[in-house]
């Protein structure tokens, strides 16, 4: 079995993850496999680097009460470390029909689910509240950020239940997201971004201005990035049903130039917004997505 090879990152290959029964298992496999590959302890969040004291409040784990301080001051404080700094993670997932496209064993939506589940799993183990908003032309599903016990299962269940919808309306969806995200946090947008980059700017910029950290995972199929057909093909748009016959020459030349220009444009827009743009192909392992998130999370935890 490929999943049992010595390379831990092989566990993160989408076709391997697709074989797992539940999304929770997928998330655990992905995250633990990722950290094995990074040679880091999976017990993240328990860094020895002291960060601050925080007054005990209801719901905090009493095991972390600093009893020395209590003896001196007769007040209960919780010791907090660097890894424990909470960041609200809001996952905005595009579930439009175009996300249902696949040329291989894993569709873009399925891959997006893996990414979202892995991020949620990672975040909740850092006690970061995780929320989910799924959208196509409108918001299909919303779950406010929460770090309570059992929320992982609820989030994963919500992610698991997503199916490809209709057309994409990124602007309208992110506008609704802004209404739900009143507090600052990390907003992860997972989409194939079949929209004008300027529209993305208009949709994401308000979130950035509010102080949110933005990560954009653009999920694409390999056939979309590097189509390779030897004969003319009659293509049908999954969302609109429109048909078009395209010559192989066009797909090999002009189309690739256009998609490349589009990706570069999105990259620039993201940079302008201060967002992190990560292009993910559905046939590549998840470790790159998780590494970028981990680095981004580390860089923005304060």
């Amino acid at each position: 079995m490929e999943a049992r090879t010595n390379n831990p990152f092989s566990l993160l290959r989408p076709e391997v993850l697709a074989g797992l029964s539940t999304l929770e298992l997928v998330a655990r496999q992905a995250v633990e496999g990722f950290f094995q590959g990074m040679h880091r302890s999976p017990r993240f969040g328990f860094s020895q680097e002291f960060a601050e004291y925080k007054a005990y409040s209801e719901g905090d784990d009493p095991r972390f009460v600093d009893w020395n301080v209590f003896a001196r001051t007769d007040r209960t404080y919780i010791r907090r470390y660097l890894g424990e700094t909470n960041t609200r993670l809001m996952i905005a997932m595009d579930v439009s029909a175009s996300m249902g496209y696949s040329s291989g064993p894993v569709s873009k939506l399925q891959y997006a689910k893996f990414v979202a589940a892995s991020l949620a799993y990672m975040a909740l183990h850092q006690h970061d509240p995780v929320g989910l908003i799924a959208f196509d032309a409108k918001v299909r599903s919303y779950r406010p950020p929460s770090s309570r016990t059992g929320s992982l299962g609820a989030v994963l269940h919500a992610i698991d239940g997503l199916t490809p919808g209709s057309r994409t309306d990124l602007g309208e969806s992110l506008r609704q997201l802004r209404e739900h995200c009143q507090r600052r946090g990390l907003v992860v947008v997972i989409s194939d971004l079949y929209c004008e980059p300027e529209l993305l700017t208009r949709a994401v910029q308000p979130l950035a201005w509010r102080g949110n950290d933005i990560m954009i995972f653009q999920v694409m199929d390999r056939a979309e990035l590097q189509p390779d057909f030897e004969e003319s093909m009659l293509f049908q748009d999954i969302e609109s049903g429109e048909q078009l016959e395209v010559s192989p020459d066009y797909l090999r030349t002009t189309y690739r130039d256009r998609i490349k220009a589009h990706l570069e444009h999105v990259e620039k827009v993201a940079a302008r917004l201060g967002a992190d743009h990560v292009l993910l192909a559905t046939d590549e392992p998840l470790d790159r997505a998780l590494r970028r998130y981990f680095m981004f999370r580390g860089a923005h935890r304060r």
Binding site: Y101, F229, L234, I238
Partner: protein
């Protein structure tokens, strides 16, 4: 018009490609794609082109089926034959290419005059070139003056032959030279007007209605032709050759007669210039050994017509020994058989009569054939000796008599005697009902039916035997079979007068002689033939073989399965027939009538031309105009099949291209 219109039912096959394409359209799949945002809408034009290619494939397949069906149905294209204009004339230039045209200077004049005739054709008139000797050969089909070059080329490559022209045959064959509607037909006969070329009936010279005759005389009043009329052996003295010379006495002076035997000169004699013709010259040949001898006579030097200065003959010295086995040398059957065998002059049999016991003691290899008067005589050692002889390549004729009737099987051949009712049928009178006429021993099928058989020995012919005569009840009377390397003829009735009346019938002698000669291999193809006349090459009976002309070129080859092979020699000399394990010669000479160079007198010529005039005046030339327009039916199946083959080659290429596209879509 169709050769096989039933094949048009195959047009129903057009539904197959239609169904296939409909089916293919239903299974046509589109390639889903996430977004057409970055694709070019202008590619729609390509899409239409793609559809067009599918139509192209469909059209290709429909056309392929259509062409195949039409090709098998065999359409005939009705084409208007190239005819002349009304009021024009078709000049049929007939050049006599018979032997007499080889007389000194005649053929050159004939070519010259024919060339002039070709050059004289103008305007809308047409011309046609025909060579006439023992057959009519159209050298060039009807054409206009523009074809004069081709006509002259055809004329220049034609030579006079060695066969005979009969003007009567020419006149009857002229019916094939029809002109177009309203076109007159004028036959220009370029000939030497040889008197001997005339038919027996003067009326046979009349050309078909509507044709006019123009006699173009190219002959000369030559009195300088001597010919050898025949070469043979004297009846009283077969060691002496006789050469008969005939022709113009004026040509005798200074001529030498040379006789050759098997290609070697055996005599040379200066002819007497004052001798009366016909003259017979005698040459001593000496003792000739058994076999076939080529005897040729030549006159030197050549005269005006050199071809008839030589004569080719064949002499056979065959005297096969035949052993006649009978119960008693003085019995009826032995007497009749011996008399019949000795009656034949060619070949002449040396008949030896013996009792059955002698078969074991005599050297049977010395005999060409053995005739047994009653197969029931054969038992024990004599039978074994005869069997060994036949299996080693010998030949035997068995007749079945009362003794054979006592046995279960016919000795030697192994045929079984019939039993039960069939056996009792042999007691009843019967007549011959079925005769295998192609067999050389049965030349007179009608005569066989008149012979009465009171009794016969009913037998069942063994496997592989060829039944040559069969009674009305189906029982075989005469059958031939191979035994080892030899041949065996079995006659299911004795040859005495008690069982049938064959012995007193004229057919008896001939049958016995012919069948014995056949078994002995003494009968061969006719030894002498004439140029232009057909004769049986005998190849079929030999089981195949080849015929070579005097120049050594193979002119005929048969595998033995073709019936009635007839050879028409076109030159004098010895033709060689090889086949059946032996080689024989055929002596071919010219028709003696061609050597008679006397010409038609002026009155006869005028009457001949007048004969046409009478007809023309009574039945105007214009009546030809009533003839239906000449049409030709040209079969076009070959071209249809060729086109279908080309399409069949293209179809997989186009189809594979489309299948390739479909495979790509599914990946």
């Amino acid at each position: 018009m169709w050769l096989a219109p039933l094949f048009l039912l195959g047009l129903a096959g057009l539904a197959v490609p239609l169904w296939l394409h409909r089916f293919a359209k239903q299974t046509d799949q589109k390639q889903p794609f996430a977004s057409l945002m970055f694709l070019e809408a202008s590619e729609i034009r390509r899409s239409r082109h793609h559809q067009l290619r599918y139509w192209l494939l469909l059209a290709l397949r429909l056309l392929l089926v259509l062409l195949m069906v039409l090709a098998f149905a065999g359409p005939l294209w009705r084409a208007q034959a190239r005819t002349g204009a009304a009021g024009a004339t078709l000049h049929v230039i007939v050049v006599d290419t018979s032997l007499s045209m080889r007389t000194a200077g005649v053929w050159d004049r004939a070519q010259e005059r024919a060339g002039e005739l070709i050059g004289s054709v103008r305007g809308s008139d047409r011309m046609m070139l025909v060579a006439a000797d023992h057959r009519m050969r159209i050298l060039r089909e009807a054409g206009f003056a523009s074809d004069a070059g081709a006509m002259r080329a055809a004329l220049s490559t034609t030579e006079a032959g060695e066969s005979r022209l009969d003007y009567g045959t020419l006149a009857s064959g002229a019916a094939a030279w029809n002109g177009g509607p309203g076109e007159k037909v004028l036959v220009h006969l370029v000939t030497d007007l040889q008197a001997s070329a005339s038919p027996l009936r003067f009326a046979d010279l009349q050309l078909p209605a509507g044709m006019q005759l123009d006699l173009v005389d190219v002959g000369t009043e030559s009195r300088n032709n001597l010919r050898i009329a025949s070469v043979g052996v004297a009846e009283q003295n077969d060691r002496q050759a006789l050469v008969r010379i005939d022709g113009d006495a004026a040509a005798l002076a200074g001529r030498t007669l040379v006789l050759e035997l098997n290609g070697v000169e055996r005599g040379r004699r200066m002819l007497d210039g004052k001798a009366k013709l016909p003259d017979v010259q005698r040459f001593e040949l000496g003792e000739l050994g058994p076999g076939e001898h080529r005897l040729a006579a030549r006159l030197l030097p050549a005269d005006d017509l050199p071809v008839d200065d030589a004569y080719f003959a064949l002499i056979r010295r065959v005297q096969p020994k035949v052993l006649l086995v009978a119960a008693s040398a003085g019995g009826d059957d032995a007497t009749y058989l011996r008399a019949a065998l000795q009656s034949l002059a060619e070949p002449r049999f040396d008949v030896d009569v013996a009792q059955p016991a002698a078969l074991a003691t005599r050297a049977l290899g010395d005999f060409a054939a053995v005739v047994v008067s009653d197969a029931g005589l054969l038992t024990g050692a004599p039978l074994q000796a005869l069997r060994k002889y036949v299996e080693g390549g010998g030949a035997a004729l068995l007749t079945l008599g009362p003794r054979a009737l006592q046995q279960q099987n016919v000795p030697l051949g192994g045929a079984t005697l019939a039993r039960g009712k069939a056996r009792s049928a042999g007691e009843a009178a019967a007549r011959v009902a079925d005769v295998e006429q192609s067999h050389p021993v049965l030349r007179e099928p009608g005569a066989w039916r008149s012979i009465r058989f009171f009794r016969h020995v009913p037998v069942v012919a063994p496997d592989g035997a060829q039944v040559l005569l069969r009674f009305e009840n189906g029982s075989p009377l005469l059958f031939e079979q191979a035994v080892g390397k030899g041949r065996l003829l079995t006659f299911a009735s004795p040859l005495d007068r008690d069982w049938n009346d064959l012995a007193i019938h004229p057919l008896f002698v001939r049958f016995i002689a012919e069948s014995t000669a056949y078994l002995a291999g003494a009968r061969a193809v006719p030894a002498v033939a004439t140029v232009g006349s057909a004769f049986d090459s005998d190849l079929a009976r030999r089981g195949g073989g080849q015929v070579f002309d005097p120049q050594g070129k193979r002119t005929m080859m048969l595998d033995g399965t073709q019936a009635g092979p007839r050879l028409v020699p076109d030159m004098t000399g010895y033709y060689e027939v090889r086949g059946g394990g032996r080689s024989d010669f055929i002596a071919v000479n010219v028709d003696p009538r061609e050597s008679q160079l006397a010409r038609l007198d002026t009155e006869t010529r005028a009457r001949w031309v007048g004969l046409q005039g009478e007809r023309v005046s009574g039945q105007p030339v214009a009546t030809v105009a009533a003839a239906a327009p000449a049409q030709r039916l040209i079969p076009v199946w070959f071209w249809l099949l060729l086109a279908a083959a080309a399409l069949a080659f293209m179809e997989p290429l186009v189809a594979n291209y489309h299948l390739h596209v479909q495979r790509e879509r599914r990946t």
